[in-house]
Amino acid sequence: MNIYEQQASNRRMTAFLMAVFLAFFLVIGLGFDYFYLNFAPGGAQALAMTSDGYYAAGPAGAGSPVPFGTIIALLIGLGLTANSFFNGPRMVLRSTLARRAVSGVDKERQFINVVTEMATAAGLPAPAAYIIPDADLNAFATGTSPANSVIAVTEGLLATLNREELQGVVAHEMGHIRNFDIRLMTVSAALMGAIALLSDFAGRSMRYGGRSSSYGGSRSSSGSSRRGGGAAALLLFVVWIVLVVLAPLISRMLAMAISRQREFLADATGAELTRNPKALISALEKIRQAVMPTNAINNGVAHMCIADPRGSLIEEKLGFTADLLATHPPMQKRILALKAMAYQSEHPQPDFN
């Protein structure tokens, strides 16, 4: 895949992610209407209610004629999606307590300079430089477009790496910016946060409002089964609940899968920008040795970082579980790929002409 295909693919994935997110809200809203507000298209529910009561000719009082839940959920979903797009970078930065780098401090000026150099190498406007107050070694990039982007590194990274290694890390982040990974990752981080919040909310409302729902369910199953059978309704309910409960997990796994593919490419772009894969190799080695978790970075932003901030050793494992749960490809594999690049640049293939 070349860079233009990569950019196009990232744009598509961003739109897809937003669509999935909206669909998720639609399902939650519809389910809420169906199970809590007893809304049913066609007024079938109203008939079921009147079968054992007196008010046969009364209005469909039990079922709401307007799907309030769906409408509200869709509006919230649209709002959150727009918010994730426009405020995502700021939200991400705020969640990590990042602050702007100042040119008065030696190391931070060096960082700002390195960021400018990498922007020159990529032929893009220089991103803003931010510092995360944390002793661990990590870095990430965020923003919605190259013209509006941010590169943030931890204080520990600045203190530990030398200029060339820092250049390698910044070049890796610049790769994310150039490939439009930042938009996708920022949007997915913001949406993931929203889904976690929403799922939590739905779960809680289920706990408090659960009685009325099970009551309605038992009644419809004991009464005349005009609703299409209690079993089907129950099945729908179960599917809905499972969806609500698993949503954060599924969304996180999606984000991880998205992120894993892109790390290799960003490493390669970083090597292309600096023409110096060795600096990035030694930076990754140092980052790998510092396995303590990056406390300032929470789980929602994990997939944006250069290395897993949770400090878990899952990144070192290979195989199915790691494929499913890791946000980053194993460090070993990344270093190996970079070493291959370094070897090729030092030992050019002979021309067989």
Partner: protein, 187 residues
């Protein structure tokens, strides 16, 4: 008849597409070239400050310092002359003289501890890197521009439409930049 019209339409569309793409690249090449200029200018502005602040400590390296000042003056006048080959040669001399100055300054612990010199050295490293990376970017863009002109079937039309391959920024064969700076470490 219809087929002919379609073929002509497709061909015309492709020509417009190709022409616009090449124009875009040509402007990018011009812009990338200006970026190198900006960085070279920055280096010229930086050197007097640097020389001024290391002069006191490095008075034994008078020759090196003078070489830097001369190289800078030559590079500035070459830049005003506007001859690309001349600029390349003179800027190469300046790079070499500066490299020698930086390497020698490592011998002076007082210099390394000096706050303002440290700041200047970082600025100098930054500027040298900026020059290197803007050249690298220029060469990348030029390579793309030239490749796009030379592939078939664009190569038939490119020169007819007034496009010509751009020159890569490379060092002349006898450039002093190709030699490693010799540093005498005996004090």
């Amino acid at each position: 008849m219809t087929i002919l019209a379609i073929v002509l339409l497709v061909l015309g569309g492709w020509l417009v597409f190709m022409f616009n793409g090449l124009v875009k690249l040509r402007n990018q090449v011009a812009n990338a070239f200006r970026q190198i200029d900006v960085q070279l200018k920055r280096r010229h502005d930086l050197i007097p400050n640097l020389v001024e602040s290391v002069k006191g400590e490095m008075k034994f390296e008078k020759e090196t310092l003078e070489r830097v000042i001369q190289a800078r003056a030559a590079a500035v006048s070459a830049g005003q002359g506007g001859n690309t080959g001349d600029i390349l040669a003179k800027e190469g001399m300046l790079t070499q003289a500066l490299g020698r100055l930086i390497a020698l300054s490592e011998n002076y612990p007082n210099l390394k501890a000096n706050e303002s010199v440290k700041v200047l050295m970082e600025e100098l490293t930054h500027t040298e890197n900026q020059i290197g990376f803007s050249r690298q970017f220029y060469n990348d863009v030029v390579t793309k521009f030239n490749t796009d002109q030379q592939v078939f079937p664009t190569n038939i039309f490119a020169s007819l439409l007034g496009f010509s391959p751009s020159q890569l920024w490379e060092l002349p064969a006898d450039s002093p930049e190709r030699q490693n700076p010799k540093v005498n470490l005996t004090v």
